[in-house]
Amino acid sequence: MNAAVTSADAAERVAPPNDRHPMARIVRALTRSESGHLLRHPSLLIGVALSVLLIRTAASGNILTEADGDVALGLVPLAWATLIATNLSALRGRRDGSAELFGSLPSAPATRTAAQLLAGWVAVVAGVIVLIGWLVLEWRSGLAIGSPNVAQLVIGPLLVAGAAALGVLAARWLPHPIVGPLVVVATTVVQAGPLSSGTSPLRWMAFAADATSPASAPGDDGIAFPGPVDWHVLYIGGTILIAGVLAVARHGFSRRVSLALAGAAALAGVAAVGQTRPLSDDEISRRDALLTNPPAVCEVRSAVRYCAPGDFRARFGQWEGPVKAVLRRTPAEVRDRGLVVSMRDLNVTSSPDCTPTPLLALLPPRVRAAVDPAAVWPADGAVHPDREWPWDEECTFTDHGVALTVQVGAWAVGLPPAQAAASSPCQASGQARSVVALWLAGQATPGGVRGLADIGRASGPGTTVDFGDSANQPSWGVAYAKADLALALALLERPVDDVARIVTESWEQLVNPSTPSAILGARAGIPAAASVAGSAESTNAPRCP
């Protein structure tokens, strides 16, 4: 100890503040201290890393208007890590045995609890940074479609804030280190179980409720759809406030605490009503219009008409190259027929994972009828690319470039480009035109040969090519024969110009439904066995017109 101590040294004082209740300033100072420690907590650092990984996986698509919800959910690992960290921080005094010392100090225990609650802001900021990082990367990729719903994104950081409050709440009322992990498990079970069901009447209570569901109005079965997402955000905010106030209330229900609790409960209650209340007729009409007649933009480029929902306008430039590459190998009269490339809006009928959304069944009959695939996906003769570009890890389709160009090729040779909702893909097995369509696609698409070969390999048993989940996303109008695909792949190994000359010179003959694929194989010098094997009819699908 310092040998130069004098009584004068020891008598130096740091005057306590003059105000009688300096709680706010104490809480602020404590929050700063607690925040620093929370930021360095190993649990939090692990949570950030896991969330980054999860977002990379869950939000691999680039349609920001839809990925926002998945990305917000990507912060769940960070939220749980925050819960553990704040729980342990709030238990620190108990674990370290400093409660007696702190009990002799002038600051009330509630100040420490308040500071530990507020310290959760560092975890929230970490979550926001992760989200912003994701957005920046998406925007810089040049492939991003649309803008995320900010309110939907905000749910992610709110999850983290809620977890921080829950961690402190658990520490105050059930002060044992095992409780934190148990709360994580229990919350996960509740949120992922009964509250996560798309048809649960309580799904609005889930933090991660899909508040941007396209469902427009209360269904006939009386289940209320989630309302506007801002109400859901307010509801989550109110719930977090309740948790925080209850944590502070462990030290006593003062008048101020009671008022705060009442205010938080009122906020959560009002927001709960707000998101479950019946929608006004105007709002229902507006939403129905969005579903039944979604706004689309169209643009003509090089005599091809491209149409898509507004957010997807950026796809036009991405589609244009492969489409042109197909058409340049076709006669002028084909190009003059006026190709239409139009994206189908799949919001209502299928989810991003290519499964039908259960909410479709809950729509009012009039709206359900209007958005029924039979109504919105007619046999219109247009090319209908899906929304992803150039890949989609979640769906069976692995190459959206090929998905587009095969349709353009089919359109060029007179085959139905896309499946209509009311019909199955037709058969053109053994017809030269189906081989031409596949060849046109393969030669026009970067990586198209590999893409077609992959599709052939992944098709499994049977004689037709399985292009994937076409029932939900009917991109394929023709059930191509594997033998025709094999012949197309063989043609693609030949010099493009040589094959192109054959195709151009014999176009009229080759696109005639009565011309067998063997003719094309023979002209290209490909052995007949390779060109005809397996081309026999083998399914009950109708013949293509």
């Binding site: 020891a10 005094g93 370290d96 400093s98 100090l105």
Partner: protein
């Protein structure tokens, strides 16, 4: 001037066990030592002085305030420094961070002034060089000094120190005495300890507790004088001695009812204490 500590007939029980039984105590600026065997009620009394434990009965005023009243308790805590018998440390905090954390809880919210004060008290206990080290990396003695440092924050008017020298090596104990004696010029220090040397060296007054009650309250010299005529040296342990041990020079130091013509020696505080607490002290002395 207000009496810093004024206790009258203070009682505290845990179930059927009376930890403190009718204690009267008055302490003014300076150092008051509290001696007693384990279980004498010292820590219970110290916890009441630190306002973390309320007495079951009696009258208590600290720094002129009633700790039973919320406003009074707050006023006391603003002028109180406390080292618990087993102070808990936030092990992952550095020494600086921990003392700083306590400083915030002591309502020092101006960051720059608070940091200056933290540096000052860490300097007082000679921890400046290790202030950036995590507490879990500090030795037991250093941790005790961290506990003392936090108690010195804001130069409190009342310092309640429950066995603050436990775990300190001899040099650190000497330096501790230096710090506490300097503080005690203005403040009232109540020091609970097993170290009679600390009491001899530091305290103007000593209170001996045994079985929850005060057995002695007076000057340090008076405690030692209580044993005058009852401490003698002899070649062997004398049958009438209540306590006896062989000293370094080969003679037995006997304490008890001295026989005629005994070689009486000057008593120490320890002698007086041992005589006072009786059989309860024998085991400790052994």
């Amino acid at each position: 001037m207000t009496t810093a500590v004024s206790l009258s007939d203070i009682e505290k029980s845990y179930g059927r066990t009376r930890a403190v039984a009718g204690v009267d105590l008055v302490a003014e600026p300076g150092i008051t030592g509290l001696l007693g065997p384990n279980g004498a009620g010292k820590t219970t009394l110290m916890r009441m002085l630190a306002t973390v434990l309320a007495p079951d009965g009696g009258r208590m005023r600290l720094l002129g305030h009633d700790p039973g009243e919320p406003d009074g308790r707050l006023a006391i805590r603003r002028r109180l420094g406390y080292v618990p018998q087993e102070p808990g440390y936030h092990r992952n905090f550095t020494a600086f961070e921990f003392v700083d954390y306590v400083a915030i809880l002591k309502e020092m919210t101006d960051r720059r002034a608070r940091h200056d004060e933290v540096r000052r008290v860490l300097g007082l206990v000679d921890l400046t060089d290790v202030s950036g080290k995590k507490i879990k990396a500090l030795s037991g003695g250093m941790r005790r000094r961290v506990a003392l440092a936090q108690a010195l924050l804001g130069s409190p008017d009342l310092l309640v120190l429950d066995e603050p020298t436990a775990g300190l090596d001899p040099e650190q104990r000497l330096r501790f005495r230096e710090v506490i004696s300097a503080v005690a010029t203005d403040a009232t220090v109540v020091l609970s300890t097993h170290q009679t040397e600390d009491v001899s060296a530091l305290c103007q007054r000593v209170v001996v507790m045994h079985e929850g009650a005060v057995r002695y309250d007076g000057s340090v010299r008076g405690l030692a004088e209580g044993a005058r005529g009852r401490v003698w040296l002899a070649a062997d342990r004398h049958p009438s001695a209540r306590l006896s041990w062989r000293t370094g020079d080969g003679l037995h130091r006997n304490i008890g009812d001295a026989p005629p013509r005994a070689d009486l020696v000057d008593p120490t505080v320890e002698d007086g204490y041992l005589l006072l607490v009786g059989s309860g002290a024998r085991e400790e002395a052994a």
